[in-house]
């Protein structure tokens, strides 16, 4: 009864997303990608690449995380609101890290 007054504008704005169903085939594809990613990261750890070791490991981890977020967690098919929410989480985490590091990194600059 109340749909007729329910303002579509409030849910079809950027906050609204289709209810998309991801197929098992797609999930399997993602699953295999993730397993491969794990294999690569373990492999990569066996090579000595100096400073690049942690960078590569984190890059792979981040790629895997993004894949999980996009597909397993359906964010690819979600509204912009959800996308922004995810973004906001990582953003404030970055704020925590960079702003705190600004203290630790520059502590030794002067001699006081």
């Amino acid at each position: 009864m109340s749909e007729h007054i329910y303002d579509a504008a409030n849910i079809t704005n950027p906050e609204h997303g289709e209810h998309h169903i991801v197929s098992p085939a797609q999930y399997s594809f993602v699953f295999i990608t993730l397993l491969i990613g794990t294999a690569i990261t373990v492999l990569a750890a066996n090579f000595d690449m100096g400073v690049f070791n942690p960078i590569i490991a984190l890059a792979i981890a981040s790629t895997k995380a993004v894949i999980v977020i996009l597909f397993f967690m359906h964010v690819k098919y979600q509204s912009n609101l959800i996308k922004m929410t995810v973004g906001a989480g990582f953003f404030s985490f970055l704020v925590l890290i960079t702003m705190t590091l600004s203290d630790y990194i520059s502590r030794a600059w002067g001699l006081w």
Partner: protein
């Protein structure tokens, strides 16, 4: 009375206590539908948005520990390298694979619920749970090993092994680079962060498995195979988030210290 609003309220014929046939909950269509939502879409989106916001708080919660790890790894690089090499990469990698599989079955479970297949849903949830338990099992093997080697921070923590590493019988060289005693003390920080982070992660898994049992019970009663899938979907988000935390913990704790900078 000289005021429209007030007076109309006073004489408003629709006043509920005067119209007994008034029924406030008439727009309910499905039993799961809560009265204060106007549409099911609204309810579903509110639920998943709420779940996401909760995961946001989780990011920040783990974030504090990730930062501590970042900081101390830079300060006490050698100690962290040595301590990190105590962890077993095969076990960690296996666990990563197990956790990814668990997440995969969770995702399939969501799909099964969405296409209303009860049997499949139950099957996938069981698989999810089993892989989750397997993860915890391996984790406890790892913990047990730390216990035996006195690597649990606290009173019984023992650094002697890092200062005087065992000598490899074949080569006659130490099995790992010995640490200076003051640096060896800092390995305790590594293990503390290791236990705090993986422990917090395991705690999330344990809670998750508890919820999984509950969802299983409801799923086999067919509650989620009639179009109402929000609990499955939202739990899926949680479960995948826990996976993601591990996706970072694994390289950070196990892998990146295998080849220390000279």
């Amino acid at each position: 009375m000289d005021n429209t609003i007030v007076s109309t309220i006073q004489s408003e014929p629709l006043m509920p206590h005067e119209t007994s046939e008034y029924e406030p909950y008439e727009h309910v269509y499905v039993p799961q539908h809560r009265h204060h939502f106007e549409t099911e879409d609204q309810q579903r989106e509110a639920g998943s948005f709420g779940m996401w916001l909760f995961l946001l708080t989780e990011i920040m919660f783990f974030g504090g520990m990730f930062f501590a790890y970042l900081l101390f790894r830079n300060w006490y690089y050698d100690a962290f390298v040595t301590a990190s090499n105590q962890l077993s990469v095969p076990l960690g990698a296996t666990n990563t694979a197990i956790l990814i599989s668990s997440g995969f079955f969770m995702a399939l479970g969501v799909w099964a619920a969405e296409v209303r297949k009860r049997g499949l849903l139950v099957l996938f949830l069981i698989l999810t749970t089993l892989f989750g338990l397997a993860f915890l099992g391996i984790k406890s093997v790892e913990y047990k090993e730390k216990w035996d080697k006195h690597h649990i921070p606290g009173a019984s923590f023992d650094v002697s092994e890092f200062v005087n590493p065992a000598i490899d019988a074949k080569t006659g060289k130490p099995t790992q680079k010995p640490l200076a005693p003051d640096a060896a003390q800092k390995t305790q920080l590594f293990f503390f962060l290791y236990f705090a982070m993986t422990g917090m992660h395991a705690l999330h898994m344990i809670i998750g498995i508890g919820v999984l049992f509950w969802l299983l019970w409801r799923a086999q009663r067919g509650e989620f195979s009639a179009g109402y899938v929000a609990p499955i979907e939202n739990f899926g988000l949680y479960w995948h988030f826990v996976d993601i935390v591990w996706l970072y913990l694994f390289p950070l704790l196990y892998l990146i210290n295998r080849h220390p900078l000279k």
